[in-house]
């Protein structure tokens, strides 16, 4: 191809045309902070790990009183032990993946490692949502299996609300809560993937189609 040969010839001549940065100029750059994708992913992932844990810690103790009344304390205690074991597992995986990111790897491998790191934290968020859903199913099942106790706890003043109505109110409020969480997460991930990882995903797909 003529044009490409011409370009190659020109390419070799251009060395002299570039600005020569002085020692001081390079020194200044070296001391600046990186704003690479990996750094942002690290910050966001850490924030997510903290966010989900803080949410658990922020729940006031009074919230648990109701569970005590409903005889659900044991179930919750077990679920907390499992939960923290899983959290530690996720944190370990995240650090393992993050530490494996190496800028000197081939482009393909580097992108794979970044995506893997990001995916670990995605799974963590999925885990939190799924665990919440499962736990609320268990709790609901146990709650509603003893209607008398349920009425006692949620309707202590003995207002004239039927069991069906109370059931519906509880169910609807839980569904609304879930929908809001999922919507919020969807928007959030659109932002993360839209802004931060769009370019990386596109380039990764391009290489993947070659294989």
């Amino acid at each position: 191809m003529d044009e490409l040969d011409l370009l190659k010839k020109d390419w070799k001549k251009q060395d002299a045309d570039y600005p020569k940065l002085s020692y001081e100029e390079i020194y200044t750059i070296v001391h600046k902070k990186s704003s690479s994708v990996v750094k942002w992913i690290f910050i966001i992932c850490i924030a997510e790990l903290i966010f989900w844990n803080v949410i658990n810690l922020l729940i006031p103790d009074s919230y648990f009183e109701i569970y005590e009344k409903l005889h659900l304390k044991t179930v919750l205690s077990i679920s907390y032990v499992i939960h923290y074991a899983v959290v530690i597992g996720f944190i370990y995986l995240f650090y393992k993946n993050y530490n494996s990111i190496c800028v000197i790897d081939s482009t393909n491998l580097l992108m794979k490692k970044i995506i893997r790191t990001r995916r670990t934290v995605n799974y963590y968020v999925y885990y939190n949502i799924i665990a919440t859903i499962i736990l609320s199913f268990i709790i609901n099942f146990m709650m509603f299996s003893d209607e008398e106790l349920l009425m006692q706890v949620f309707n202590p003043k003995n207002l004239d609300i039927g069991g069906d109505k109370l059931f519906n109110i509880l169910l609807i409020s839980q569904v609304i809560g879930l929908v809001i969480i999922i919507l919020f997460l969807w928007i959030y991930y659109r932002i993360i993937y839209g802004i931060l990882l769009k370019k990386l995903n596109k380039n990764y797909k391009e290489l993947a189609t070659l294989e």
């Binding site: 020109d10 940065l21 390079i26 750059i29 690479s36 800028v103 393909n108 580097l110």
Partner: protein, 164 residues
């Protein structure tokens, strides 16, 4: 020790900085974006420098980090202004004795390269730097056969852009 390492790095980098300017030349089309990417690559090189053992050539190491930063780590600055083309070619050619057609062809060539995907740009860059297919395939992380296939496709694509 760190000061010593820093001094060594800056001195070596200063001598080889053209490699990074060339990466920026392929991936950006205005001065501001060029400087921005140059800066990010330099930071990445410095961060990776303590692990540089010298078992590969410094230039090879710089190619890798330069391209990886441009393709993967660097997020395009929002300030990129497309209309203000960074036309070093045109600027340069005026002072050199090229004939008009060559000058025009080169200008179109650079414009065409800027339309390619990030991966294609990396292949063209390594091709212009006289790297063989083995080195190209190792840098990008694809097989040699795929590198060849891809290179041929890029050549065809450049041809289509230039002669629509």
């Amino acid at each position: 020790m760190t000061k010593e390492l820093e001094h060594k790095f800056i001195s070596e980098f200063q001598e080889n900085q053209n490699i990074i300017h060339k990466v920026c030349r392929i991936y950006t089309n205005n001065q501001e974006a060029h400087n921005d990417l140059f800066q990010e690559i330099t930071i990445q090189l410095w961060k990776a420098y303590p692990k540089f053992r010298g078992d590969s050539k410094l230039s090879t190491w710089m190619y890798r980090i330069g391209l990886n930063t441009a393709i993967t780590l660097y997020r395009k600055s929002k300030r990129t202004i497309k209309t203000q083309d960074f036309d070093t070619v045109l600027h340069r050619i005026q002072s050199t004795s090229y004939d008009d057609t060559e000058e025009e062809q080169l200008k179109l060539m650079y414009k065409a390269i800027h339309q390619l995907s990030d991966i294609d740009k990396a292949l063209i860059f390594l091709y212009l730097e006289d790297k063989n297919y083995k080195e190209i395939s190792e840098t990008i992380g694809i097989s040699e056969v795929n590198a060849r296939v891809k290179m041929n496709r890029i050549k065809t694509r450049l041809k289509t852009i230039l002669n629509p």
